[in-house]
């Protein structure tokens, strides 16, 4: 019986554990508490508690390393996504900015083309001023007056001859007929003033309408094109050139339109405005002659100078 060591073991059970270093291949034996693995014994663990602490520390280190690795990978992935998103934004910005620039260039080009076309039309129609239309009316009157004057001269000659044949050239009746001719010519002239003004108004309206039509064509050709600029600079230039060509064709026609509006005033041919006067004058003078013949007959064959005929209205009294 042992009086000093007690009834059992008073400390941890110890034993020998071997460990082969995988790097060197060297195998060593370690005297440790039973339960300590060889690799931990090689690292200095002599008790199970030390081994557990070291193992827990190793696990903690691995967990933290794994967490850091996961975090790093997550951060890298997030950064890649952010970079990709930013690249998309940059690309979108660049594309929209380029498109906006092309749109401004396109709109500016169309506006300039429109302004040039408008200016060409305005230049072509610049001659149609108020003075131009007033001169048109005057020209109309001149042409109409030529006809009136011509007829008036013929009528005056016929009247003069008729009066001369009757021998009453210097009579009051002749003067009256002259006045009638004058009035008739004047009234015809007055009526032609209305026609001249009407023609002037019509021409002015036609000019205005023609100008509006041409400008309408110009603006329509600008409006027909795509409202959105093309996807490249070449597309924009091609579209602008197409519209410039269309407008140049229209503005080139402006000269033809203006030329057609520059026609000489067309005056409707006048009828014989003096026929009535000359006819009535002939009747009047015929009657006068008949009365004179009858008076002469009575004077010569009956000797009674009576039945006086109508007065010739001689201004000599």
């Amino acid at each position: 019986m042992c009086f000093h060591s007690g009834g059992g073991s008073s400390g941890p059970q110890m034993g020998t554990v071997q460990y082969t270093d995988p790097n060197t291949g060297q195998t060593n034996s370690y005297y440790t508490e039973v339960g300590v693995p060889g690799d931990y014994a090689a690292r200095g663990a002599t008790t199970v508690a030390q081994y557990q602490t070291m193992a827990s520390q190793d696990l903690s280190d691995k967990q933290i390393a794994a967490q850091q690795q996961i975090a790093t990978q997550q951060q890298q992935f997030n950064q890649q996504q952010a970079d990709a998103q930013k690249a998309q934004y940059d690309q979108q910005l660049q594309q929209t900015q380029d498109q906006a620039n092309r749109q401004s260039e396109y709109d500016t080009g169309r506006a300039q083309t429109l302004a040039q076309g408008t200016q060409q039309v305005n230049d072509a129609f610049a001659q149609f001023s108020p003075d131009y239309f007033a001169k048109y009316a005057q020209d109309y009157m001149s042409k109409a007056q030529d006809d009136i004057t011509y007829q008036q001269q013929q009528a005056q000659k016929q009247l003069a001859f008729s009066l001369a044949r009757q021998g009453i050239s210097d009579s009051q009746a002749g003067v009256n007929q002259q006045g009638l001719l004058q009035e008739t010519a004047g009234r015809a002239t007055a009526e032609q003033t209305a026609n001249a003004q009407s023609a002037e108004a019509q021409l002015e309206g036609n000019v205005s309408q023609a100008k509006q039509n041409l400008l309408g064509q110009v603006t329509s050709s600008e409006s027909i094109g795509s409202p959105i600029a093309g996807s490249s600079e070449q597309d924009v230039n091609a579209a602008l050139n197409t519209q410039r060509s269309a407008i140049s064709g229209i503005t080139a026609n402006a000269g033809d339109t203006v030329a057609s509006l520059n026609a000489v005033p067309a005056v409707a041919p006048l009828a014989n405005i003096f026929s009535g006067i000359l006819g009535s004058t002939g009747s009047y003078l015929g009657g006068t002659n008949a009365a004179a013949i009858a008076a002469n007959y009575r004077n010569n064959y009956t000797g009674s100078p009576t039945a006086p005929g109508p007065s010739t209205g001689s201004t000599k009294g």
């Binding site: 007690g6 749109q103 004057t149 032609q192 003033t193 509006q212 201004t315």
Partner: protein
């Protein structure tokens, strides 16, 4: 040869040995109790040390966690402020670009509107009541002028050659009469012409209005088309600023997400470190407690064993003393016949 020991001496020796044995057992028991107490004290000390060490480790872990969290959050706030500032600046730039684009378009639109305003003013000016009255009177005046400029000539003086318009006599009386009649005719012509002119002038206001409308249409047409072109491209020109604003907002949100993710990772790492350090500290403390408890239990068991041995020894000693007293010489004058009788030879 030694002289034989007397009974009394033997008894005395036995009694002494027994007493010594009993005392030794008592001492052994006492020592075992002392060892048990010492083992308990050692356990308490080891437990306290383990608790203190673990507390320090946990405290340091908590401090490290706090420091890590603080650093992570400070960095996060700093980064978030930078991102927010960048986002706000980009958004402001986009808004400014939007406003600048609108401003440029409005400037062009104002210029076009001014062209329309001018045409509208011209239209209104040309179609006011005085203007229309003037157009009417002007028409009549123009008719009079045209008539005056084209008034037919009266009978001319006789042409000696007998040609021309020689419808006028050389007779002064005839000429005077003809002059009166011609003047009368001229007056009649002017009167008639005035009436015609007056009648025709009623069309002048309508004509003026129509011309003014046509001129207005023609005048505003280019501006209308330019305005249409301006409007048609407006959305395209505004789109970059809208995209820029959306991009700034999106990039800001993404960067904030990055920061938040990074911050959360740092917080998680700090928490994990704290948790692991705490677990290790707890493990160390638990191991130390267990080892101390085991040692103390072992020591107490050993002490109990020693105490039991002591008690046994004391009992043996006491038994020896009893035997000495019962069967040996009465050293102290105490009569113990029963014992002496029972044991025989050793008694007196």
């Amino acid at each position: 040869m030694c002289e034989p020991i007397s009974a009394a001496t033997a008894t005395a020796i036995a009694a002494g040995v027994s007493a010594a044995t009993a005392v030794g057992g008592a001492i052994m028991s006492s020592r075992a109790q002392s060892q048990a107490a010492s083992a308990l004290a050692s356990q308490n000390q080891a437990t306290q040390q383990a608790q203190e060490q673990a507390f320090t480790q946990r405290n340091q872990a908590a401090l490290a966690q706090t420091a890590g969290q603080t650093a992570a959050m400070e960095q996060s706030f700093q980064d978030q402020r930078a991102v927010a500032a960048q986002t706000a600046a980009s958004q402001s730039a986009a808004l400014k670009q939007y406003q600048d684009t609108l401003g440029a378009e409005n400037t062009q639109a104002d210029a076009l509107r001014q062209a329309g305003d001018q045409q509208a003013q011209a239209l209104l000016a040309q179609t006011t009541a005085p203007a229309l009255n003037q157009a009417q009177t002007g028409q009549a005046a123009q008719a009079a002028t045209l008539l005056g400029q084209n008034m037919p000539a009266g009978p001319q003086a006789p042409d000696p050659s007998g040609g021309g318009t020689n419808a006028v006599s050389n007779d002064p009386t005839e000429q005077a009469a003809l002059a009166r009649r011609t003047a009368e005719a001229a007056t009649n012509i002017r009167t008639y012409g005035a009436k015609i002119g007056q009648l025709a002038s009623y069309d002048a206001p309508t004509q003026a209005v129509n011309l003014a409308i046509e001129a207005n249409k023609t005048g505003i047409m280019p501006a209308q088309t330019a305005d249409y072109l301006l409007r048609s491209g407006s959305n395209v020109r505004l789109l970059p600023s809208q995209v820029a604003y959306q991009a700034a907002t999106g990039e800001g949100a993404t960067n904030l997400g990055l920061i938040q993710s990074r911050t959360q990772n740092a917080l998680d790492a700090a928490s994990l470190s704290y948790g692991n350090a705490t677990d290790i500290a707890n493990l160390g403390q638990s191991d130390a407690d267990t080892i101390a408890a085991n040692k103390a239990a072992q020591a107490k068991a050993d002490a109990a064993y020693q105490a039991s041995l002591g008690a046994l020894t004391t009992g043996v000693g006491n038994l020896g003393l009893y035997g000495a007293g019962r069967y040996g010489t009465n050293l102290f004058g105490i009569s113990t016949p029963s014992i002496a009788n029972s044991t025989g030879g050793a008694g007196p």
